[in-house]
């Protein structure tokens, strides 16, 4: 039964690919059914009605046994519920959002493929299985970002996303190889990992494995793909680049925490990477004008939080925040998508304004999401963020202050986009004519808004599910600091953008995203381009021309020279004959 989790979306993707690409209705039906089946199966698993099946041997050779199986522990169950639930809602939402797109048949097939890969990551029992689905998630994300392939920017963004992920996967694969070579297995087996304990390879393995997370969860320095990935259709942004795929990196860290915890050095690196990413992304987010980009940077920033939490050994806090973030970030993206849908894909917040009055439902739900993200007490984001800050304060105080600063910035930029986009007067023609989106998009928004409110409370049971113990001592400093931060951020946002009709604060460094893209363009891309051109030149001229054709030239030159001897002069021939005959005689009898 549990195989349905993987099989249903895979079969759906395959059917759509083979048969239904040109038949949107059939493809929608198949894909949504598949997603519903996975959701129901996930519920069944969570309720303990469905057991994990026996593993199948995928590769079985001496020295390497790779199984395709299912881990259904509490970590996986929680993640399954969140992913399949959000995915199902997004499938439904896409019905409305993509209703007019001629290629939506293909779209739903790719969504199914993504869902299958994502579930694969969650249930994997070993590193290789995780790597397989890890890569597949990258592929489906490539396909979905490049869904509007005729747009140059989308095509480029897709490629960039895949490559950045590939670089991360390179490290991930090396980490797997290191782990396997030391521990002799690729299974998630804490007992086997003891081989790594005290070994000088432990930090190396841990950090290499972490590379996978850097790529997938868009941590600095491989984060550049995530904002560009917003070129994809908005449901994709919501599903992949907010709620699920990018969270896979954090999930992976929790899953392999038994390796990470062997090396405190590696944990610090992880925590600091997370902290810096959280801060930098939040800073950038304050200066972006594209509503989806703001959300993208905020996603990055929140992922930084989670990574920070893992680095501080707070996997429970990380998973908690991952779940609540999944709900409210999906909500925010879908709300933004609803706005874009109404505004004919106008994404600049300065060209919106007053949308809130035209689209009350969207505004209300978006507002709830924004408040949750900002960490306003009483909403889910507050609880989970609190947990992370608590963890950080206990193990790495410096990071705690960074995290608190980030919290203030988060409140600030969320206030900014909400105020600018939804309140005030419409600033453009399209904004004036905005209409509320259809109900098929509205219902998922309402459900998610509900989840975004309640998911943090103890009665909802996420923490309990993760098996967290109430920690005895809780510093009062943490709630105080975070509350202050949120209030500061809100006030600054409200003051700064209360009635703004244009940008008042311009910080080029932040607007240009710390020049990451430019630096990469100038260094890595240029360098690679030049190196490629140089090597191709060497290959063509030194090896292909000079050596190969030079060799051929030498041979033909030798031929030309020997030809001079074959001039047809009888007397020369006779002389050579004499030389030859004399030579042979001397050779035979000369001793």
């Amino acid at each position: 039964m549990a195989w349905l989790l993987l099989l249903a979306p895979l079969v759906s993707a395959f059917l759509v690919w083979v048969a239904f690409r040109r038949h949107p209705r059939a493809s929608q039906a198949v894909s949504i059914t598949a997603s519903l089946i996975t959701f129901l199966t996930a519920i069944g698993i969570a309720l303990g009605k469905i057991e994990a099946p026996a593993s199948l041997a995928w590769i079985d050779l001496p020295g390497l046994r790779v199984e395709i199986g299912m881990t259904l522990d509490s970590l996986a169950r929680l993640m399954l519920l969140m992913v399949t639930g959000v995915a199902f809602l997004i499938h439904v939402y896409s019905l409305g959002y993509m209703a007019e797109d001629p290629g939506r048949g293909r779209f739903f097939g790719e969504l199914s493929l993504f869902l299958a890969s994502m579930i694969g990551i969650i249930v994997s029992t070993n590193f290789i299985m995780m790597y397989i689905f890890w890569e597949l998630v990258g592929v489906s994300s490539y396909l979905l970002i490049g869904f509007w392939f005729e747009k140059n920017s989308a095509a480029d963004a897709a490629r960039k996303a895949f490559l950045a992920n590939r670089v991360g996967d390179f490290g991930f694969l090396l980490g797997i190889l290191t782990f396997w070579a030391t521990c002799g297995t690729v299974a998630f087996d804490p007992a086997a990992a003891r081989g790594l304990a005290g070994n000088s390879l432990a930090p190396i393995a841990a950090l290499l494995l972490f590379c996978g997370c850097i790529g997938k969860s868009a941590q600095i320095p491989l984060h550049v793909w995530l904002p560009d990935a917003m070129e994809g259709p908005t449901p994709v942004s919501a599903l992949i680049h907010a709620a699920t795929m990018v969270a896979a990196g954090v999930y992976m860290l929790c899953r392999i925490f038994f390796v990470l915890e062997l090396s405190p050095e590696a944990l610090s690196v992880i925590a600091w990477t997370g902290g810096i990413t959280a801060l930098v992304a939040a800073l950038i987010a304050t200066q972006q004008n594209d509503i989806k980009r703001v959300l993208a940077y905020s996603t990055m920033s929140q992922l930084g939080y989670m990574v920070l939490a893992v680095g501080c050994a707070g996997t429970t806090a990380a998973m908690f925040h991952l779940t609540t973030h999944g709900f409210f970030k999906a909500l925010l993206f879908m709300g933004a998508g609803s706005v874009l849908h109404a505004l004919h894909h106008e994404q600049d917040i300065w060209r919106m304004g007053g949308v809130g009055r035209k689209m009350p439902l969207t505004f209300a739900t978006f507002g709830i999401g924004a408040a949750a993200l900002a960490g306003i007490p009483g909403l889910s984001g507050f609880f989970s963020k609190e947990d992370i800050l608590q963890t950080a304060a206990q193990s790495k105080p410096a990071l705690f202050w960074i995290a608190a600063l980030t919290a203030a910035l988060t409140a600030f930029y969320m206030t900014r986009i909400t105020l600018v986009a939804f309140l005030g007067k419409p600033r453009t023609e399209v904004a004036t004519h905005a209409k509320e989106s259809p109900l098929v998009m509205g219902i998922p928004l309402i459900i998610l808004a509900g989840l975004a409110i309640v998911a943090g409370y103890p009665f909802f049971g996420i923490l309990h599910y993760l098996g967290a113990q109430e920690s005895a001592e809780k510093s009062l400093l943490v709630p105080a600091a975070s509350l202050t931060a949120v209030i500061l951020g809100l006030t600054a946002g409200a003051v700064g953008y209360g009635r703004a009709t244009r940008e008042r604060i311009v910080i080029p460094l932040l607007e240009r995203k710390f020049y990451f893209d430019e630096i990469y363009d100038w260094t890595i891309l240029k360098l690679q381009e030049e190196a490629a051109r140089l090597l191709a030149w060497i290959d063509q001229w030194i090896i292909g021309f000079f050596l190969v054709r030079g060799g051929a030239f030498l041979v033909s030159l030798g031929g030309e020279m020997l030809r001079l001897l074959q001039a047809g002069n009888l007397r020369e021939y006779a002389f050579f004959f004499a030389l030859g005959a004399g030579g042979i005689l001397l050779l035979l009898f000369g001793h």
Partner: protein, 163 residues
């Protein structure tokens, strides 16, 4: 006596061969060739091959030399005043002589210097050669006959198909 005859004929043989090469006039060269053939016939005789000596004189000195002289006259060849010998060619020729001379010298097995007695054994006569020709070598003999025929036809064709 035999020794003297050998050295005498050998000297004649080599000097007339050299004469073929060094003489500028084709006619003189041809005459040198004749002398050489005669000296060789003498040596054949000294070796007891009287029949061959006779054939040598008939075929070479008779038929072949006449042909050569005939052609010389026909083409009206003069001494090589227009195309004198070149030092390079002469050097190469001398080198050839030295090289091959040494080569052949070294190639002769030591036992050959002990095999003397040219007088030993029967002098071969035409009869025994003829006997062999018509028994063991009858097929090559016929073949040579055919070759002569072909050559004859070939020569006729060559000289008739003038442009």
């Amino acid at each position: 006596m035999e020794g003297f005859l050998f050295w005498f004929l050998a000297f004649g043989l080599l000097s007339s061969a050299v004469a073929v090469i060094v003489n500028r006039s084709p006619v003189a060269s041809a005459l040198g060739l004749v002398t050489m053939i005669l000296a060789l016939a003498g040596l054949f005789g000294l070796l007891g091959a009287y029949f061959l000596a006779a054939v040598q004189v008939w075929v070479y000195a008779g038929a072949v030399m006449v042909l050569f002289l005939f052609i010389i006259m026909l083409l009206d060849l003069k001494a090589e005043e227009v195309t004198p010998l070149r030092p390079l060619g002469v050097g190469a020729g001398l080198l050839t002589i030295v090289l091959l001379g040494i080569g052949f010298w070294r190639a002769i097995p030591a036992s050959a210097w002990e095999t003397s007695g040219a007088g030993a054994g029967e002098a071969s006569d035409a009869a025994s050669i003829g006997h062999l020709l018509f028994s063991a070598y009858v097929l090559p003999f016929e073949g040579v006959g055919l070759l002569l025929l072909i050559a004859m036809i070939g020569v006729i064709v060559l000289s008739k198909s003038d442009v």
